[in-house]
Amino acid sequence: MNGNGTVDLAGMAEQGGPGPNGPSLDRDVEVHDAVSTTAGGKQPLYAPRIKVYPKRVQGLFRRLKWIALSVLLGIYYIVPWLRWDRGPLSPDQAVLIDMPARRAYFLWIEIWPQEVYYITGLLILAALGLFFVTSLFGRVWCGFACPQTVWSDLYLLVERWIEGDRNKRMRLDKSGFTLDRIWRKSLKHLVWLAIAAATGGAWVLYFNDAPTVVPAIFTGEAGLKVYLFIGLFTAMTYVLAGWAREQVCTYMCPWPRFQSAMLDEDTMIVTYETWRGESRGRHKKGGSWEGRGDCVDCNSCVAACPTGIDIRDGNQLECIGCGLCIDACNEIMDKVDRPRELITYDTVTRQNARAAGDPMRLRLIRPRTIFYVVLLIVVGAAMLFSLSTRSTLDVNVLHDRNPVFVTLSDGRIRNGYTFKILNMLREERDLVLSIEGLDGATMSVVGVDGGGLEVLPFTVGPDQVITHKIYLAAPRASISDGAEDIVFVLEDLNAEEGGRFDNVFRGPER
């Protein structure tokens, strides 16, 4: 610590942290002078960022991360190109949000603007799914699936290809303005920007017809909005994945702040086997392991961590649960010939049991996980139900407010209604509208000759919304207490589908 409470890397090294060439140490183990960004007790209110140089590791979790990255990026880039035949009048893109036409298409499902609650449902499902997975396996979302993680990983890969691994990158950043540094940095940022542009470019495909908009983008014929969003996403990707990286997780994202509410002692988390690792210390090759822990204090776990923390300090906000420290530690444990999994993916309960020499089974089925599963099933079933039974016909009826009612010369009372009928089918439909709950009611459509009907016929074109002003008149005697509850009944005689829409008919108070 220097005077301002910040961590001084050089100072730490001088204070006797033995360098990698320490004479008496196990030579197979490269010791890093990595210091966790959360090291030390007192932090100033605004800590200057300590740049994190994650070291390359190999192992199970790294492989899982590569798989997650490939699959997720693959989905992101391929989905807009999938086609789905919806007939001649509708777009044939399988997943499309058509803003100008106010429609969202998802395979066979077509969402109209008034049905955005399905998106609410999806978000609820996503949140519950997240809680469920988190309660079982900790922050796997953060470590493997979050776009911030995926793109940061991709950016790191590029960085490593061009600038080399951790130590090379650190040296490069310390070197002056050498030709080597300039070309490597320029190339890296160029590739980053290209990836960022591809990210934004793919984003707009979800809102436009992919095969037509892609050539348009390159010939400068796409709309301003397309370029604006590509620009926005390019900038966001470049800044967030290239520069901000782990700061997004530690400062910007709310999820780590309440993750502890999802975790309990039976949740699998990335954890350090303190009982086996301590007391830690450098180890001489061939030396005895008696009376000491397995941790050789090589800091490989810290060097590998993409958020730059020391997992040996315990589970913490900054840990995204990616497991790269496990891979890093396993490499070392293999070298010093100690059992793997000193940093492991395990629950607190099992760790305690193992520390006491009493291994136990994993408890995946617990009240908490059952609760989440039940919630998931309930919400999912509700959504499926509403999706499968949803009407292809919707009506909005708005009672006129001004005037609320009009007395006609023959003494009858007339109310006006604005009717909006939405036909969500791709075929013309013949509908009839009738009234329940109002004696002697007659209807007429404004602008259409021949009123005074008890039943009104309508024709609505395919995928069309029609708006009509309707006058409903009834004898004064039919209204009690100034208002009468009525029901508009709309029926499609061919499809045996329809709907009942409650409304009110108002008249003078008695």
């Binding site: 005077g3 301002n4 005037p403 009009v406 007395t407 006609l408 010369s409 003494g411 006006g416």
Partner: protein
């Protein structure tokens, strides 16, 4: 309370942080510097403010304000927007000026524009008396019903709006109901009888004998304008007395009062106050309120 400025940078022993040199009653303030990006954002804001002062109106003076070198003015900006709006509407305005009322109704684009313009003009000029949506008030006819004093066809409505009723305009709609009581044209008993008769036209409970006497009086004095069956006469603005719509009220007291003192409601002429296109749009709108013929 005492504030001492110290120029020498002092370190706090416990935290190792430097102090700001501010001291209050022995309590010293630690200096916790802002992060760089924050400070630079702050500088950028200052630069932005200075630039703004130079470019845009900023400082108030005694009789005016600094104009800024861009010469921007909110008032002018609004006027420009209004002019733009008018320019965008020009097509419709000239269309409405050129077309007659029936043509406007037949053209969906013009009709749409006229209805929108009519709503606004009605709200500004007519709703005070006639109510929003033409709901009407006592003494001010409901425009949304199927009963009209001077006619509910497009041309009739147009003439009424343009020239007004008893408005003093050369082409005003004019008629006068005699003040049968105040001018002693009828005896009070006759007035009472005729009121009974008028009430009987709409099937209200009446004194049969009085109504029969009143019928005679009605035929002699009222039928010329209101019609023998009480159906009214639109050429004279004489209301129908045999329907359920009452301008001032359908109870006996009100009816008697109207016979005795007459009502001569006035509507202003809007020609000259509103542009011809606005009057046309109002006509279209009122016609569409629910009673247009």
């Amino acid at each position: 309370m005492e504030s001492v400025m110290v120029t020498k940078v002092e370190k706090d022993e416990i935290t190792g942080q430097s102090t700001t040199g501010h001291e209050w009653d022995g309590i010293k303030e630690l200096n916790t510097p802002l992060p760089k990006w924050w400070v630079y954002t702050f500088y950028a804001c200052i630069a932005f403010a200075i630039l703004w002062f130079v470019l845009y109106p900023a400082w108030p003076g005694v009789d005016g304000y600094t104009k800024g070198i861009l010469g921007y003015s909110q008032r002018e900006a609004v006027m420009e927007r209004v002019a733009e709006g008018h320019a965008a509407q020009a097509e419709y305005r000239t269309g409405i000026a050129a077309a007659d009322l029936a043509e406007i109704r037949a053209d969906p684009a013009l009709l749409n524009f006229a209805l929108a313009g009519g709503v606004a003009a009605f709200g500004d000029n007519c709703a005070t008396c006639h109510g929003g949506g033409g709901a009407g008030n006592v003494g001010y006819p409901t425009l949304a019903d199927d009963s009209w004093l001077w006619g509910g066809a497009l041309e009739d409505i147009h003439a009424t709006i343009n020239y007004g009723i008893r408005s003093g305009h050369d082409e005003e709609r004019y008629s006068e109901m005699p003040r049968f009581g105040a001018d002693e044209l009828l005896e009070p008993a006759q007035i009472d009888d005729v009121a009974e008769y008028v009430l009987s036209l709409t099937g209200q409970e009446t004194d049969k004998a009085a109504a029969e006497r009143g019928q005679e009086v009605f035929m002699d004095n009222c039928a010329a304008c209101h019609g023998e069956s009480g159906g009214g006469d639109r050429t004279q603005g004489a209301p129908a007395l045999n329907d359920q719509i009452w301008l001032y009220g359908g109870d006996k007291e009100t009816v008697t009062d109207v016979i005795r003192n007459a009502r001569r409601g006035v509507m202003p002429a809007w020609e000259g106050r509103l542009s011809p296109e606005t009057v046309k749009m109002l006509t279209i709108y009122v016609h569409a309120l629910g009673g247009g013929e």
